[in-house]
């Protein structure tokens, strides 16, 4: 670049104004300064000529004719429709199904791809396989009554089944509790007959100071944990302490469990 010339315009300014000059939008003193600079600057003159030639060559290029099937292919790939010479604009009051399809098509365009379809297919296959392993059969769904009445009926049936199960389990536990109480009531006779056997080791002076943990309870046919007077292990002695501190609990006349059992039987017979 030759820098500033007598026109007062810099080469950089000429380059900046080149586009407008070629478009023919420069007027007045700016245009005069632009042309005056070219007269004195061979570099800028050459640049302007080359740019003008390039612009002429480009603008003389004719518009290329697209392939005939291009529009057909575009429409087939987007809306799946073929172009028609007389395109019929769908009336606004068309069926709601078509309207819904038209609205949903652009929204789900990204979802409706082969990759998503493949993923969805794999997920469906996995879920179906797991349900099959779990014993679920889709054929059984035909027997389902999904009306409000049917759902209500299924709810009450399920509730009654749960209640029956609960009552049955409660009966079993109460019978077990009753049997346990009967055993406990029979335990004092056995402990009295075993009393001398337990006192024999206590008279031995060598074992008098032996630790409690070394005294092994004598198994007398009943469960050791339920013998009241048995010494030694804490498990056997725990009920005796409890009974001593609560004299009312010694009343063998009516254990609480028998009351409930009787009540339950009364209710069941009623």
């Amino acid at each position: 670049m030759a820098g500033e010339t007598q026109s007062g315009m810099q080469c950089a300014e000429v380059e900046a104004l080149l586009a407008e000059a070629l478009d023919g939008v420069l007027h007045g003193p700016t245009l005069a300064a632009f042309e005056a600079h070219q007269q004195g600057c061979a570099t800028c003159r050459s640049m302007v000529e080359e740019a003008r030639a390039g612009m002429s060559l480009l603008q003389a290029l004719e518009e290329a004719e697209p392939p005939r099937n291009l529009m057909h292919n575009i429409l087939a790939q987007t809306i799946g429709a073929l172009p028609s010479e007389h395109a019929v604009v769908k009336p606004r009051g068309e069926g709601w199904m078509e309207k819904l399809k038209g609205r949903l098509a652009p929204v789900f365009a990204g979802v409706a791809t082969p990759r998503f379809a493949m993923s969805f297919g794999m997920a469906f296959f996995s879920i179906t396989m797991l349900l099959g392993i779990a014993g679920f059969r889709f054929g059984d769904m035909r027997d389902w009554d999904l009306t409000s009445k049917g759902i209500r009926k299924a709810y009450y049936n399920t509730e009654a089944r749960v209640m029956r199960y609960y009552e049955n389990m409660r009966l079993v536990y109460e019978i077990e509790s009753r049997v346990r109480d009967l055993r406990r009531a029979a335990t004092p006779d056995n402990t009295q007959s075993n009393q001398p056997q337990q006192e024999v080791p206590a008279t031995n002076p060598n074992q008098k100071n032996a630790p409690k943990s070394e005294i092994r309870p004598q198994h007398n046919g009943s469960h050791p944990g339920y013998s009241r007077d048995m010494g030694g292990p804490e498990l056997a002695s725990y009920p005796a302490v409890t009974l001593a501190t609560n004299p009312q609990a010694r009343q063998p006349s009516a254990p609480p469990s028998s009351f409930y059992l009787g009540g339950h039987l009364e209710r069941r017979t009623a």
């Binding site: 612009m55 002429s56 060559l57 518009e63 575009i74 809306i79 019929v88």
Partner: protein
């Protein structure tokens, strides 16, 4: 109702699911988009594929078009240009392989580029009128860098103004003018250099 309002109404109809409106849009713009792709890629087959991709992308993103930000023409050109740039970055269309001995269109009995440039009798303007010279300029256009090529295509072939080109290319208006000047100059020099090599 001016053109912009008419096009915006067409777009709204299309977004609301009117297939006929979409067909009108394709009818109006497919030629223009094809020409941008053709001049940028240099191949009719590639341009056809790219044009289809542009319309598929437009169809999926038409609801994102904001009428307050730009005209629909600018938006369409931006979508086209971005897709072209993406493909160019992948290297798919970055092929400058023709030599001076190659014939345009790979015709065995056609004139080579060097032979076409030997005709010194006609002025540049008159040469452009001939079909062969058009092919020559088209080949020279492919040899420009992508930045200069897209600028001159949008200005000299698509007749967009500088402001719209700046929006499409996402560069300042001064940069657009500079690229257009350089693109035109480079094209003229490229043809001139080729001519000097063969003469």
């Amino acid at each position: 109702m001016d053109d912009n309002q008419a096009v915006n109404a067409l777009v709204r109809r299309c977004v609301s699911g009117d297939a006929a409106a979409w067909q009108d849009i394709v009818q109006q713009y497919h030629r223009r988009i094809f020409n941008i792709c053709y001049r940028f890629s240099g191949s009719s087959d590639d341009a056809s594929d790219l044009t289809q991709e542009v319309f598929i992308k437009m169809y999926r993103t038409l609801s994102t078009f904001d009428t307050t930000r730009a005209s629909f023409m600018t938006w369409v050109t931006t979508v086209t240009r971005n897709l072209l740039v993406d493909h160019f970055r992948k290297g798919k269309y970055d092929r400058i392989t023709d030599s001076l001995d190659a014939t345009p269109g790979n015709q065995e009995d056609g004139l080579t580029i060097a032979e076409q440039l030997e005709d010194r009798r006609a002025s540049p303007e008159s040469r452009v009128r001939s079909q062969e010279t058009q092919k020559l300029v088209h080949e020279a256009l492919r040899r420009l860098s992508p930045e200069l090529r897209e600028a001159v295509i949008l200005r000299d072939l698509q007749d967009l103004d500088y402001k719209d080109i700046a929006k499409v290319l996402n560069v300042p208006e001064g940069t657009v003018k500079s690229r257009i000047n350089r693109g035109r100059t480079e094209l003229a020099r490229l043809l001139q250099r080729t001519y000097k090599q063969v003469s």
